[in-house]
């Protein structure tokens, strides 16, 4: 799709410019705090023009931003779709204008983007499931009752995460090794609502919950707040995702069992590399392929591995520069940091 780039346009040689649309800032901290930062750095390093916008979870906004980027003369469009439909509409528009396309983090089904760079969301869920199993096993739980605190019912990623951890947990339920407890979605990933929902889960089961699969650190923290009220924090393992400062601190204290760290820098760097290559008309190498389940076609992909973070490898996240020691080890956490080998 890039060959014609140099000659097309009949004289007006277009300067390489990359447009990125991020999905929102409420569902996860990563988009604004990490992705934007790393992408900016990578683009600057490569010396290309770029703009990065956030659709704030609004599909109409998403479209609007895309329209405007196309209007603004970008040559490569990189999107994190809000859903495949909107994503496809935007990709189609871009392709019609001869713009190179990259799906970032989320695959647009039937969208036909040139490349796909991502963590595997189902894999994230799998790590969460495995993490919970590990923590329960370490704690020596017998027939533990598991509560699942899923993400927003309107977020397809929440469904993918759930697919991942249920893949681990379901067999255990089936084998009667674990007991399936309450299992609910949290509207808008709202932490306050998560607190209410988890509190009622506790009431419903007479506090007999032995493990909490929380889909991200925010939901995990909401559950931990309720557990604290019942003085059960630290005794009931809770999972998370995103390796937020708070989540990591909860892990250091021992209230949270694990979180999933997506080395966003690697993802961002990988995507930026592809984008720059596209913009410059080069063909990248070393890619795998992912099957688009809807169109049945293979998409050229760069897939990155999420990492499960427990107390003993919190230091890796700091080492990666994803969180700083100052944030993490403030105040009462200094000792814990030292103990966890963070320096």
């Amino acid at each position: 799709s890039d060959e014609g780039n140099g000659g097309s346009g009949g004289g007006t040689e277009k300067k390489a410019k990359i447009g990125v649309i991020l999905p929102d800032s409420a569902s996860s901290a990563r988009w604004e705090t990490a992705d934007r930062k790393y992408l900016e750095a990578a683009f600057k390093a490569a010396g290309v023009d770029f703009e990065i916008k956030n659709a704030q979870g609004d599909k109409a906004q998403f479209q609007t931003i895309a329209d405007q980027m196309i209007t603004g003369g970008i040559t490569v469009l990189m999107i994190v779709n809000l859903d495949s439909g909107t994503g496809k509409a935007v990709l189609d528009k871009a392709k019609a204008q001869g713009i190179g396309t990259i799906d970032y983090d989320r695959l647009t089904l039937n969208g036909g983007a040139d490349y796909y760079v991502s963590f595997d969301n189902v894999k994230v869920g799998t790590l969460q499931g495995e993490g919970l199993v590990k923590c329960l096993t370490d704690g020596g739980a017998k027939n533990p009752v598991i509560a699942e605190l899923n993400g927003s019912p309107t977020d397809n990623n929440a469904t993918l995460f759930k697919q991942g951890y249920d893949g681990v947990l379901q067999p255990k339920y089936d084998s009667k090794e674990y007991v399936k407890g309450p299992d609910e979605f949290v509207p808008d990933w709202n932490n306050t609502q998560a607190g209410t929902i988890f509190e009622n889960m506790m009431t419903k089961t007479s506090n007999k919950i032995d493990g909490v699969l929380a889909a991200n650190d925010g939901l995990g923290n909401a559950a931990i707040a309720v557990l604290k009220r019942n003085k059960l924090n630290g005794k009931v393992p809770v999972t998370g995702q995103d390796a937020t400062v708070q989540g990591l601190q909860n892990i250091l204290v021992g209230d949270q069992c694990m979180t999933v760290y997506k080395a966003i820098k690697k993802e961002a760097d990988g995507a930026a590399e592809l984008a720059v290559a596209l913009a410059n008309g080069q063909t990248p190498t070393g890619l795998t392929t992912v099957k688009d389940t809807e169109s049945g076609k293979d998409v050229q992909s760069k897939l990155l591995e999420p990492v499960a973070i427990y107390k003993d490898n919190v230091k890796d996240v700091v080492a990666d520069g994803y969180v700083t020691k100052e944030e993490l080890c403030a105040g009462s956490f200094a000792d814990l940091c030292t103990k966890a080998g963070i320096s």
Binding site: S8, G9, K53, K59, Q61, D67, Q68, D83, T154
Partner: protein
């Protein structure tokens, strides 16, 4: 009228201009503040980002603002009665999703699917209206309950976070395609001719009856102004907007434009020229007086909710078409607040009795321009939120200050 000699049937054009100027200086500005606000926004954004003022972006604006504008048009009927419909956003989502799923899973033809979506809108409005007028629950509570329920229904329809894509090409055209060049001009011609016809007919009729009427020159001026403005707009939209015309051509009036214009004309007619519309204003102004005049206020209330929900369904279909899909967030987020905001910014009162369909279009334009312009202006999302709020405030402030001046002079 009976005060001898103060009004002549036909005042001269200059007298009219003078009177208008006096009214404006007195603070009675009609649509002027809203139009001025739009102008200021356009100039401001264009200076900040020249690309804002391009044919492409103009077309984008129209696509972007259409759905909210249509939903706002419906809301105006409900607001006129002093009621509110908090569920209009999700109604749009539910109706559109129903259409989408029927096309996808039942392979229904698009016209059937749309008919069912509209019917769902009608039934929704009927139920809401009955609960408000027959049972007597405040509309805020009824539609808050609907707001919650419809989120659930939407989830049910689109199955827990899935996305349903729309593949029907006819539906996809609504929110994405343009009229052919010639069709744009034909539409333009018919619209202007119609407007001119109505204006002339009414002036002549009043003249024949010896009633006060506007001078012909003013009528001509109005028709001319509309013709020029419309002509420029159509001309611009008929320019090539594609950056790569070799590969694909993008020109013509977006299909949403005739849809919005036809709705505007039809609904304005209903509100200003029919008994039904007059009764809506009467009930909004003074329910008791309307009831004493023998108006069936309950039926009127129900009908307003029906219109609101039906237009929400239309708005939902436009949005779904533009998104190429429906999802559990269709019609959610800020759709409702933007729609009510558009109506209120346009000049519709939340207390009933005051509002025009044009308000939805003007207010919808303000909202769309701010949204569009802010996306061009900044990248940081927090700045965008903050500045969007501030610009909205500034736009409404212009309007408020001018109206305040009017009020201070005893004009309503």
């Amino acid at each position: 009228m009976t005060n001898a000699g103060t009004t002549q049937p036909v005042a001269s054009l200059t007298a009219h201009v003078a009177a208008y100027w006096r009214r404006v200086r007195g603070g009675d500005m009609g649509a002027l503040p809203a139009v001025l606000g739009i102008l200021v926004l356009v100039v401001g954004f264009s200076l900040a980002r020249p690309v804002f003022f391009s044919a492409t972006n103009f077309a984008n604006l129209l696509f972007q603002g259409a759905a909210v504008t249509v939903i706002a048009m419906g809301l105006i009927f409900v607001l006129l009665l002093g009621e509110i419909d908090l569920s209009a956003g999700y109604t749009s989502g539910v109706c559109a999703s129903l259409a989408a799923i029927l096309m996808l899973e039942q392979h229904m033809p698009w016209y059937f699917a749309i008919a069912i979506a509209l019917l769902t809108g009608v039934v929704t409005g009927l139920v809401l209206g009955m609960l408000v007028s027959k049972v007597g629950i405040p509309s805020f509570v009824v539609t808050l309950a609907a707001f919650l329920s419809f989120q659930g229904v939407l989830l049910l329809i689109v199955k827990q976070g899935q996305i349903i894509s729309i593949q029907d090409s006819t539906i996809l055209k609504i929110g994405n395609n343009n009229l052919p060049i010639w069709a744009g001009w034909v539409f333009y011609g018919v619209s202007i001719a119609g407007y001119a016809g109505v204006q002339l007919y009414r002036t002549l009729r009043r003249s024949a009856k010896g009633l006060t009427r506007d001078p012909m020159s003013l009528v001509a001026l109005r028709i001319g102004a509309l013709a020029v403005a419309g002509g420029v707009a159509v001309y611009i939209l008929n320019l090539e907007r594609s950056f790569n015309p070799a590969r694909t051509s993008l020109r013509g009036v977006p299909i949403v434009v005739p849809i919005v214009v036809i709705l505007l004309v039809a609904l304005t007619f209903v509100l200003s020229r029919t008994t039904y519309g007059l009764h809506l204003y009467a009930v909004g102004g003074n329910v008791e007086a309307a009831r004493r005049a023998g108006i069936a206020t309950d039926r009127l209330r129900i009908s307003a909710f029906v219109i609101c929900s039906t237009l929400a369904a239309i708005g939902g279909i436009i949005a779904a078409s533009r998104d190429n899909s429906v999802s559990p967030t269709s019609g959610g987020s800020n759709v409702l607040l933007y729609a009510v905001g558009a109506a209120v910014i346009g000049g519709t009162s939340l207390f009933g009795g005051k509002g025009r369909v044009l308000d939805a279009v003007l207010g919808g334009a303000v909202v769309a321009i701010i949204d569009n312009g802010m996306n061009l202006l900044t990248e940081s999302s927090w700045i965008k939120y903050v500045v969007t709020g501030l610009v909205l405030l500034a736009a409404a402030g212009v309007d408020a200050l001018s109206r305040r001046r009017a009020a201070a002079r005893g004009l309503s």
